[in-house]
Amino acid sequence: MTTLAADSSRPSAPVIRRAQDGVAAGLCVDRVVADGEFLALSGWAIGGQDLTFTVASGDGVSMLPSLTFFPRDDVAAGYGIPDNLVKGFLATWRNRPRGDMQVRLNLGAGEPLGIDLRVPEQSRAAEVAQFLTEKLSLARFLFEGLINSPAAISLLVNHLDEPPAGFNRARGHIETARGIEGVGGLVVGWTVGEPDVSFRLVDDQGAVVSLSGAARWTRNDIVEAMSRDFGDYAFNAGFLHGWRGPLRFGGSVRVIASTDDASYALAEIKWSPAPLDPVSFARWVFEFPTPREKFAERLTKHDGAIINALIERKIARRAKTPPTIQEYGRQAERPKCAVVVPLHGRHDFMLNQLLAFSDDADFVAGAELIYVIDDHRLVSPLAVDAPMFAASFGVPFRTVWGGENRGFAGATNLGVANSCAPFVLLLNSDVIPLASGWLERMRSVLVAHPEIGLLGARLHHPNGAIQHDGMGFQWEPTWQAYLNKHPGAGLPGSPSREKFVKRQAVTAACVLIRRDVYDAVGGLDEKFLIGDFEDSDLCLKVREKGLEIACLPLPVTLIHLERQSFSAIGTSSFRDYVARYNAWRHQARWGAAIAKLSGVDKERATSK
């Protein structure tokens, strides 16, 4: 066996076994390159069945490389044997084995050929560079092996050419690469190619992602332009891929196409900044029309975590200054129940609410009414109107302004944090009572039934039909998530009853909770995008504490105008994606619990 110097550019002399008619078997390792965790051997073999690589200094463990073979016509010519008898090989490890190595070519019945290699700890940079550039045609294999060696990848990519004029197996382009430093980003473009062409994104730092996991969709412009050359392959060309590694503005990202024997850089773009605000970011990324049925998968693989990170980032950066609180009218000294109403988009609902509260003596005397301003545009109008509203209607209230839009959950939490009553009613601004006494009646239920954690109320549409009478969870296959359903909505509803009815969940549009329970579960989850699902999330958290959820089937008392305040937010398509994002997030947290809850309910139903 032959041993070579570690830093030799040709680590082994060929080991040849001759037969009478020429060469019967041969083995040579002509390169050994180590770079950090990356190790590559290249060489050639004649004859034999398989190659093994054993770490000599360990326990003799075989280390499986990623192994690829390619022609070595030069070797065949040198020995005067047919091309097909010689196999070039490239073995790479992304987490290299340490220690010297024995390479063997097994020859079946015969004695194997073997070479002992001393593996360098770190090859010289020039040597690595030379190795990589010699092996450009094998770049697709090196990408896999070098995934933990960004410097080497970077070097490799920098040596890749644009495709030559005659190359017609693939096309591609990157249209946008935007991200947030420290969070991640998104790369969007298109690729078209034969099925055995693989595509990767590589940035200038050497980070690689394979586009085999990209979210894809069919772009009509690409179909039109490319189907002449690529036929059916022009479909599903659009891609979107999340980028979770570090990114650097001014740095670039490339899309690489690799065939068996060549890799080319198809396009390059510089990173640019994406919106830091989670809603603005979502507005941007939800524009890319990936298939709706795969939206949950897309969020899991690509942009869901980024949106979540941006929401957390925003909450973490909230101003620490205390909210601005204004008192209007003489506040109740020992309020029985806080009523927390977030205001967004418009505040004229207050006119109807306050007018309705004004002739409810219990409400005026015992409620701690808090309007949470959750909209910069409403700060000034409220400052003008609030004193007049309080004087006109004789209903005392407070306004709380946290200095920024926090969404329904954040605004509600802020309002609750600034209340002092032992009970809290969460109330939407577009819920208008038609009669008096309902709040006291709801409160008396919670007082009498400590086993109930959350008490909702039957809500009605303006025409008297049911709008909400408790919620149930329903599996939605196209969303791959449980959604909140309102059973009986739009119908006249069963006759109202004195007693509450147990439900899986209730809406937060009008829900009563004890303050200590609210605090124990941490209030509403503020990390849903814009807002949605906070109510069922709250219900599930309260259930986790072993408490029940119930709904009071009031006669037509509370009118819910529903979703009026959302009209300002944007297109229905964006709203749809926001709902899907929130459903995805809700599902990740509660999917198992809901499945169990539904199972429990099934048992109950069958045991009756």
């Binding site: 004087a391 208008i432 009118i559 529903e562 009026q564």
Partner: protein
Amino acid sequence: MKVIVIAHAHPDFSVGGAEIAAYNLFRAIKARPGHGEAIFLARTELASQSHGSIMMRRPGEFLWRQDIGDWFRLRTQNPMSVMGVFREFLKTEQPDVIFLHHYVNIGVEVLREIKVTLPDCLLVVTLHEYVAICNRNGQMVKNKTKKLCYRESLEDCSNCFPERTPQDFWLRKHYIQKNFEYADAFVAPSEFLRRRYIEWGIPAEHITVIENGQPSSLMPKAGPPSRQLRTRFGFFGQITEYKGVEILLQAIHVISNEIRAKAVFEIHGANLESQGQWFQELIDTLRKPLIVEGCLRWVGPYEPTELAQRMSKVDWVIVPSIWWENSPMVIQEAFVNGKPVICAGIGGMAEKVRDGVDGLHFEVRNPLDLAETIVRAASEPGLCQKLKANIRAPLSLEQCADSYLALVA
């Protein structure tokens, strides 16, 4: 008993039917011997008076500078004045009864303010037009298409005003009705209007019909039949696109020359010049050839005091309005002056004029039908005298006041 009559305008500055009715009621109660005190409070927009203030106009009469800030919910522009000077005014005057003739230009909040400040004071609200029901100037005529509207609904109203959602209309209705709950009773000058408000939601037992009173002294004695060359038809009122003057002019055009030669039409009215350009041009095109021909006299505006004189010269009064009307004053005035009325057969007009008894109906907005009705009126011997004989004296101011006071007795 102390009574305050509140109106949305003072007849010193404005001559609409509602403010005149309110003022007449005030005067009739005031003139009643041994009745007690009566006060008149009228909203004004006089620039010489400061915003929100209440100032004496003359003993027993006050002006309140006030306006509407939000025509959608009919909210006052100056709520601090409602809670300030108006509340003080109520506390100072301590009336037993308030007759509120219209909340427009004041704000629907005054109903609640009155009852919260003076819980024992009886509040009677007189409804004029359909303002609480209809966001389109209370006319119940569809926006843009101008079709007659038969009922309000959240969806229909939103269709008229697409910038407002059905939920917005629910909020409007809720806000107005909630304030209406503070009234002890409502008065409707016509049964038609009463029905519309019942359909809208006011309980039937809360609305009484009391027609606006008319000065009874004007009722002329029946003179000898006139010996005229031509039958005279008169239009009296504002010339706006809702009063139907263009329908009348179109009707005249389709009447044959032979009949036209036996008739003359007089238009007594103001404000054409403040209408839209298209309407002015339409009227101008229609009237020119008729004036030249001599069958049309374009008389123009008149003072209220001139009305009886002008009306006395005609044989028939025509009321061709293209909207429902409530209780048009011109019909009462025609009857006071003993003139049968030809009117569109809808709404308050159809109620006040009995077809074939003291007047004739024609199909609303139909010039041909109006033309045929005019031809009949001009050519059927004895018809005018017969209808004239059936005219009942309109409710007098004193009778009207009796009815109002009976509500609160």
